[in-house]
């Protein structure tokens, strides 16, 4: 076992392959040979995950289910079982913690591990990668995880995607720059479709092009993002793996089984999302500084309204009431197919709090939330509902798929 690895850092990025779909196949191996997506069976939802067979038909996540079925009429759609995915995710994260005390979970199926200084114990990067992959498969009953290892987060992440699925890519710091050079600019972290187009307009197509570009000229062309992109192109990434990192926003979106226009119904959906977000905030000991409502019209127009809260909160009722207040800021008379609620500007609940002159926050609601949390912890989600919802006959609500998300793009705050 080689222990003479002289990398300054050893950063591992591990990403489960087509997670939700793989999880379904794990529990029902008959599905393995079929084109499969996870998502609501109705025509109205979106694809959450497609397996690799379905991807051959051009089906991918976030695609409307109707379009996916058009592209692949034999497509099997399985409704999501988030509890099961969470369980599998926990098993995988458990494996990661055997390899490093510093594990940064990006989402259910993706994490960074900082294995710096562990070569004497774990072996060289190649050995570490192989054994992580083997252990994840063993502990989860057969899920495959793709692993990328390098000495920065950026290169490790690109590496894990490099030979997906079921791959292991190791890029030593010495070869990182040369290895990145031929990659398309869209590989750069933070380069979305817009930025990519901008790069191409100014004649930069590969990471190598960006690296070799004159810094001043690039700054003029792209503004203050330029430095960051050029740093990444040089395989430099100052971001550390941090298990305690704050996510920038947390969301809960619900694609509805039928279009909804009444404020009352939208408010009910928002209540469900507020309950989920409130409980996630409390579980993570976070307070939200702002609330954002997203509505997608039946014509796929995405509308957003947001508000900063006078005081950060984790109280479900405050989140919900703020969201309902935001509904008034949308134009009337439209019908919507998706209702989403997100919280942003999060801070740890023990961070300093500026008290307000006019606002005596919390009170009994905070207590009520903690009781609900405790009951649900013991008897399962949904075991307790608000009496105001008992009369609700719109079963729609319970069939709608909720997609929880966490956006953990870099935040400069501590």
């Amino acid at each position: 076992m080689s222990t003479d690895c002289n990398w300054p850092n050893i950063i591992v990025h591990a990403d489960l392959d087509a997670f939700y779909a793989s999880a379904e196949i794990l529990d029902n191996p008959k599905l393995a040979e079929l084109p499969l997506v996870v998502g609501p069976r109705s025509n109205r939802g979106v694809v959450l995950t497609a397996n690799y067979i379905a991807r051959r038909y051009g089906v991918h996540s976030a695609m409307p289910m109707a379009e996916a079925l058009q592209r692949c009429p034999d497509l099997i759609a399985v409704p999501p079982r988030f509890e099961r995915y969470q369980e599998l995710s926990r098993l995988m994260m458990g494996v990661f913690h055997n390899y490093s005390p510093n594990v940064e979970a990006i989402s259910l199926d993706e994490a960074f591990l900082d294995c710096t200084g562990a070569t004497a114990l774990l072996g060289d990067p190649g050995t570490i990668g192989k054994s992580i992959r083997k252990e994840v498969a063993e502990h989860t009953g057969g899920l495959s995880v793709s692993v990328g290892i390098s000495s920065t987060k950026f290169v490790a992440k690109v590496a894990s995607g490099y030979c997906k699925p079921d791959g292991l890519t190791i890029v030593s710091p010495e070869e990182a720059v040369e290895w990145l050079d031929p990659m398309p600019v869209s590989t750069l972290w933070g380069a979305g479709p817009k930025t990519t187009r901008r790069f191409e307009q100014i004649g930069l197509y590969t990471i190598g092009d960006v690296r070799r570009a004159d810094s001043e000229w690039l700054s003029r062309m792209l503004g203050n993002q330029a430095i960051n992109f050029q740093r990444l192109s040089n395989a430099q990434d100052i971001r550390e793996v941090s298990s305690g990192r704050l996510s920038r926003s947390m969301g809960s979106d619900r694609t509805l089984n039928r279009d909804v226009s009444s404020k009352h119904e939208l408010a009910e959906h928002l209540r469900r999302s507020a309950e989920r977000l409130g409980s996630r905030l409390r579980r993570k000991s976070l307070l939200a500084g702002g609330v954002r409502v997203r509505l997608k019209t039946s014509r796929f127009e995405l509308l957003t309204r947001q508000l900063a809260l006078p005081q950060p909160t984790d109280v479900t009722d405050i989140l919900w009431q703020t969201a309902v207040g935001l509904l008034n800021r949308f134009e009337e008379g439209k019908t919507y197919r998706l209702v989403g609620l997100a919280v942003f500007d999060m801070q740890p609940s023990d961070a300093p709090i500026q008290k307000d002159l006019f606002n005596d926050n919390g009170g009994d609601n905070g207590k009520l939330d903690r009781v609900i949390d405790a009951v649900e912890e013991k008897y399962g989600t949904g075991s307790l509902i608000r009496a105001s919802r008992l009369g609700d006959k719109s079963a729609v609500i319970d069939q709608s798929v909720t997609l929880d998300s966490t956006d953990e793009t870099l935040s400069d705050e501590n």
Binding site: P352, I353, K355, D356, L357, F358, N359, N414
Partner: protein, 366 residues
């Protein structure tokens, strides 16, 4: 329209009104300035449809008329010309020609009747207040206004005018500033108006403490202040300002008299190592000593002690250091009075001599 004017005479009213023009407009014509030339004066008006600024200058007019032209461009043109230049302005077809020496500009125009004017104030009552008094009251309080707060009624300044008394109050929910002063004005009925933030900032720029009395007219929804050649007209915020008397503490039992400059220095030093996001500092009072300390996520620490004349109970309270510094900057006496109760209660800060100016700061849980 045709007139000839010296650069400085043109620039003064232009700079008076330009602040009303927003960088992005809801209507294209609001990016323009309205120029109106009558027999002997030029009147320039800018608006963002909430606030309208008008300023006039005496000038000999060759040909009367009214037109609108791009605001920033006209201001930039005047600024860029050499000092004391003579500027000839003439409307020719759909273009405004601006000439000075060997420099010539042609500006696009839009018709004057497209420019939205505020209607004359209805059922207004009108009083006179010295600009000096008004500017002091605004200066003492405006910094505490909220900015884009959900509680829209906090994004402005409360002005109360009752018999021989002008009262200004601003708060962003974390701190509150209150200032009252005597005026000769006696309104028919007490006035209570929330003036929008932008209007307050423009007003504080326009008020000339040596300019004598300003005429203040108020209707239900509008405010109009005339200061010499300039008129500011603004919509008011239609909302209920919170009961500020309720939050001005009266039970502070730990009173300190502090040298304003020494305290400012102490706070500024502690501020360096406070968390950039929260700006928290800890004030600990004990027998004869005030200790101001801070720390940040990088685990750096600052401690600064100030000798004080105090021998009561000890206490420790956290504050956003910026709020304390803002108040010390607004106070103009050598010493400041600080009244505290405990770590959950607001602090009251006042100038040494008067209790007509009061500052309330809510603590921070650190």
């Amino acid at each position: 329209m045709k007139f000839s004017i010296e650069r400085e005479d043109f620039l003064k009213p232009l700079q008076t009104v330009i602040g009303a023009v927003e960088r992005k407009q809801t209507m294209p014509v609001l990016g323009n300035l309205l120029l109106e030339a009558d027999e002997s004066s030029l009147t320039i008006t800018a608006s963002d449809s909430e606030i309208e600024l008008t300023s006039s200058v005496e000038v000999s007019i060759d040909q009367k008329g009214a037109i609108t032209v791009p605001a920033r461009k006209l201001v930039d043109i005047c600024r860029s010309l050499p000092e004391q230049s003579r500027i000839d302005v003439e409307l020719s077809g759909e273009q405004l020609k601006v000439k000075s020496g060997r420099t010539r500009f042609s500006l696009s125009t839009m018709a004057a009747n497209l420019f939205p004017r505020t209607d004359p104030l209805e059922q207004a009552q009108s009083i006179e207040i010295e600009q000096l008094v008004l500017s002091q009251a605004v200066r003492a309080t405006a910094f505490s206004m909220a900015q884009q707060d959900v509680r829209f009624y906090l994004n402005g300044l409360l002005m109360e005018i009752s018999e021989e008394r002008l009262c200004c109050v601003a708060t962003d929910g974390h701190r509150l500033a209150y200032s009252e002063c005597a005026t000769a004005a006696i309104p028919d009925e007490p006035i209570r108006a929330i003036v929008p933030r932008k209007t307050v900032l423009e007003l504080s720029r326009l008020l000339n403490p040596e300019g004598g009395a300003a005429k203040v007219a108020l209707s239900k929804n509008f405010l109009q202040i005339t200061m010499g050649d300039s008129i500011l007209t603004s919509k008011l915020i239609d909302g209920t300002f919170p009961d500020y008397n309720r939050v001005i503490p009266i039970d502070g039992n730990k009173e300190l008299l502090l040298d304003r400059e020494l305290l400012r220095g102490t706070l500024q030093r502690a501020a360096i190592l406070s968390s950039e996001k929260y700006r928290g500092v800890r004030l600990a009072i004990d027998d004869k000593v005030l200790t101001v300390s801070s720390n940040n996520p990088e685990r750096e620490e600052a401690v600064d002690e100030l000798e004080i004349d105090y021998s009561g109970d000890s206490a420790e309270i956290g504050f956003n250091v910026n709020y304390l510094l803002d108040v010390l900057n607004a106070i103009d006496t050598d010493n400041a009075r600080l009244l505290l109760k405990d770590s959950n209660s607001s602090a009251l800060v006042m100038p040494e001599t008067a209790d007509t100016t009061k500052y309330v700061i809510m603590p921070m849980r650190l």
